[in-house]
Amino acid sequence: MFIQQLINGISLGAIYCLITIGYSMVYGIMRLMNFAHGDVYIFGTFVSFMFMVTYKMNIFLACALGMLTGALLASFVEILAYRRLRHESRVISMITALGAGFIIQNGEEIFWGVELQRFPSVFPADTFTVLGLNVSTVQLFTLVFTFALLAAFHLFLTYAKTGKAILCLAQDITTTSLMGVPINRTVTIVYALGGFLGVVSGILYASAYNVISISMGFAGTIAAFTAAVFGGLGNLNGAIVGSLILGVTQSLAGAYVSTAFKDVISFGLLILILLVRPMGILGEKKVERV
């Protein structure tokens, strides 16, 4: 039972990983709490859903179109709602982010309605038993997929020119721009990547639980925010660790205490962790400069 829930938790955590990475990366560079992130990922997921169900398109093509939409929408929101406010107080862009989120939510409402809908299984639904534990193919695919994407992402950040530029931006925007890195383009790419990864996780989540609804958007934002803070805001390894902790906690709390209180328990744990380590688990202690 315990190990079973642990496996469920890890696969849930893996899904959170992909949302959180996009969120945390934006935070690491812009120090922006991107409240539109969840709405972007669920919009992209809805687009794949639409192509899959309404237009009966090939599943992979539909997923790819959804991811593309997510990436485009995220960059569009950046250009429209954040770019001009980059030098203003951060709370301002937090609110335009919320506003952009509202607009996207309303779009979803108009296109796809507010009801919970059944999301088709992208992967063959099958369960096999290893050492007495049930592992579904969806979970297996989720883990493999997440791992492959994270590895690819890591390679991208380490070796690709744009990836290196992103890491530089996270350190110091002004200096990076002096080194000739095109700031606006790189920032847009960061948002696009975040949107892309978010939609991947949205599709994984929706096909793991076979549901899709608008409310998953804001819930995703909060989950990403929580996981990012667990691990240390802006720290990508921290985002992975934080997501796994969040997934496992929610899964265990849901199984042993009650599903109604699973968020309370993960939030309680979060407060405890922050009281002990105010900068998150992997966050670095920031020295305040004058």
Binding site: Q105, E109, I222, I271
Partner: protein
């Protein structure tokens, strides 16, 4: 600071005139629906004034304001229905309880950087709401508290919307004057110093820890007072009145109105309430319209409608 060095003569007439207008308004407009909207604006104004004091004056991020609003409402509701308190002692108790919870929540603020405190307060808000939902024996869960008696002022029972309008207006004016006084006192100056540069404030001998917690609690207390008023106005309160969505709404009101501007908070509350009510007719597009208003107001005027320009990380281009 600019407001102190440059006396705005028109301001001295401006606010009394508005106040007179608002006092006459219910005598002219007798529509119950409009009065109800106005009362909701008063309630949100009081809560937003407190919110602005935390976020705009002290520079602390807060995402659990609805929880303090709820604590005030629940304290009042429970004291009045279970223990038979009358409104004024219940209001005082609500203010005291929210103040204490504000201190409890403000203490972690000492250890955490801005964005982490944001999540801790958000988590607190969610924990509060789920607890109120789940604790059947104490708060009646999802059903909430029903049958909260209307208040009375000097033996005069406040029952109709017309009466509540004036009581609400009195609350707003009192909170406004109180915060104006606090903002211009030692506390307010300390808050501004912390907002502008915490390290510099420490170097100048400001006890930043003390003032951060104090200012946070003052802001929360106003949310509690607003919640208390909400409880007697609606006479029924439930956990669904105090969701994260409420906090977000208040946050939008404060920022659209202008951080660091007390009249701005009232204006922001009025704008958002009017917008939500007005666009109720085009229900399908209301989020779209409100979202567009939020984005374009802030793109056009990043400091909000009436906000001060001082609060930003980068130096202002020229000027003062």
């Amino acid at each position: 600071m600019a407001a102190q060095t440059r006396p705005w003569r028109w301001q001295f007439l401006f606010y009394p005139l508005i106040l007179v207008g608002l006092l006459i308004l219910p005598l002219v407009v007798t529509n119950e629906y409009v009065l109800r909207i106005m009362i909701m604006i008063w309630i949100y104004s009081v809560a937003c004034l407190g919110y602005n004091f935390i976020m705009g004056f002290t520079g602390l991020l807060q995402f659990g304001h609805a929880a303090f609003y709820g604590i005030g409402a629940y304290t009042t509701g429970l004291l009045m229905t279970e223990l038979g308190f009358s409104f004024w002692p219940a209001l005082a108790a609500a203010a005291a309880v929210t103040f204490i919870f504000g201190i409890l929540m403000g203490l972690p603020a000492l250890r955490l950087r801005g964005d982490y405190i944001c999540l801790v307060t958000l988590a607190f808000g969610e924990i509060f709401r789920v607890t109120m939902q789940g604790w059947q024996s104490f708060t009646h869960g999802q059903m909430g508290i029903v049958g909260i008696a209307p208040p009375s002022v000097f033996g005069f029972r406040i029952v109709s919307n017309f009466h509540f309008y004036y009581l609400g207006l009195a609350f707003v004016v009192t909170s406004f004057l109180f915060l104006t006084y606090v903002a211009n006192s030692k506390i307010g100056r300390a808050a501004t110093a912390i907002r502008e540069d915490e390290l510099a404030a420490t170097c100048l001998g400001v006890n930043t820890a003390y003032y951060k917690v104090l200012c946070f609690s003052i802001g929360c207390t106003l949310a509690g007072v607003a919640g208390s008023f909400l409880a007697v106005f609606l006479s029924t309160i439930a956990p669904s009145n105090f969701t994260l969505g409420e906090t977000v709404l208040m946050c939008i009101m404060v920022i659209v109105g202008g951080l660091g501007s007390l009249p701005g908070s009232i204006l922001g509350a009025a704008c958002l309430i009017f917008a939500t009510e007005f666009f109720r007719q085009v229900y399908e597009y209301r989020l779209l319209i409100i979202g567009l208003i939020m984005v374009f107001v802030l793109l056009w005027h990043p400091q909000g409608i009436m906000g001060i320009r001082a609060w930003q990380r980068h130096e202002a281009e020229g000027g003062d």
